[in-house]
């Protein structure tokens, strides 16, 4: 399935959280590949009961994001931070379009995850990597860590921004 989505919509689809810096970071990172907007990013989707397709192609529109804000974030944060924040933006779009769920809260410190999703409060762990070569290791480590420590269901979304591509999966 292909979906066109404005980054600024994140503050509407997940209204409980602050998105300004995350959205600007996403533009900063997606622009690095010198690809003109809209930015295209394909996610593999695995084991989401609400989603029949195997992939989600996001066409990401940066309209409404201030270039000055993007420039300021580039000066403020290291690249690794920007990449992590950009991955949160992608995960926010993917969770909405593929799982039809809202990110409702920050996960507890020490829970091995970043956010709580849906009324059931499933954990969502997000990872961002600059290079495609780091994706597989990041995915395996995070998946095993979550499986080892979590009794309930969880989502994992890892995005690499070299291709760019990613994966979103649910463990019930």
């Amino acid at each position: 399935m292909e979906v066109a989505s404005h980054l600024v919509e994140l503050s509407t689809i997940h209204p409980r959280l602050l998105w300004d810096d995350i959205v600007a970071a996403a533009v900063a990172v997606l622009e690095q590949n010198n690809a003109p907007p809209p930015f295209r990013l394909e996610l593999t989707i695995k084991d989401l009961p609400t989603y029949d397709d195997e992939t989600l192609l996001l066409t990401i529109l940066p309209d409404g994001v201030s270039p000055a804000h993007v420039t300021r974030l580039r000066r403020t944060y290291e690249t690794s931070r920007l990449v992590e924040m950009a991955a949160i933006a992608v995960a926010g779009l993917a969770i909405f379009h593929a799982a039809h769920l809202e990110i409702r809260d920050i996960a507890l410190h020490g829970s091995r995850a970043d956010y709580l999703v849906g009324k059931a409060g499933h954990l969502l762990e997000i990872g961002g990597r600059s290079r495609r070569g780091d994706f597989g290791t990041a995915w395996r480590e995070k998946w095993e860590h979550l499986k080892e420590h979590q009794g309930g269901g969880f989502f994992l979304c890892v995005v690499e921004f070299e291709t760019p591509s990613g994966r979103l999966a649910f463990q019930s």
Partner: protein, 120 residues
């Protein structure tokens, strides 16, 4: 005066989540003063939420809010207050002691007491 428990405020939950986010952003920017301010706000909002959840009979959510409050207090450099909250939780929920100890161990690792540098 009515004693009917009020529903837990959705707005309060939202403001708390955003204060945690602002604290995390301040940490990333190495701004300890701002991090302390936002994590303290989040901690006290979590304690209010914990009380509201308890009144509403949502004990698991109340416990979660108290753990989060302790975590926020720790990240605001209120180490002793955070320890007291976690100790109290362990006494009230002995079955949850391993999980609570895990939170403390994680905080000690990522935000060591007396370490003025913010986590990277």
């Amino acid at each position: 005066m009515s004693t009917i428990p009020q529903a837990v405020s959705d707005m309060l939950v939202t403001v708390k989540s955003r204060e945690v986010q602002r604290g995390m952003v301040a940490e990333m920017q190495k701004d300890q003063a701002a991090a302390t301010r936002h994590f303290l706000a989040a901690a006290y909002l979590e304690l209010v939420l914990a009380s509201d959840y308890t009144e509403a009979g949502q004990i698991e959510l109340a416990r979660r809010s108290r753990i989060s409050a302790a975590s926020c207090l720790w990240r605001a450099d209120r180490f002793e207050q955070a320890r007291q909250e976690l100790d109290q939780l362990s006494r009230e929920f002995p079955a949850q002691t391993p999980a609570i100890q895990q939170v403390l161990a994680d905080l000690e690792k990522t935000h060591p007491e007396g370490d003025t540098s913010l986590p990277t």
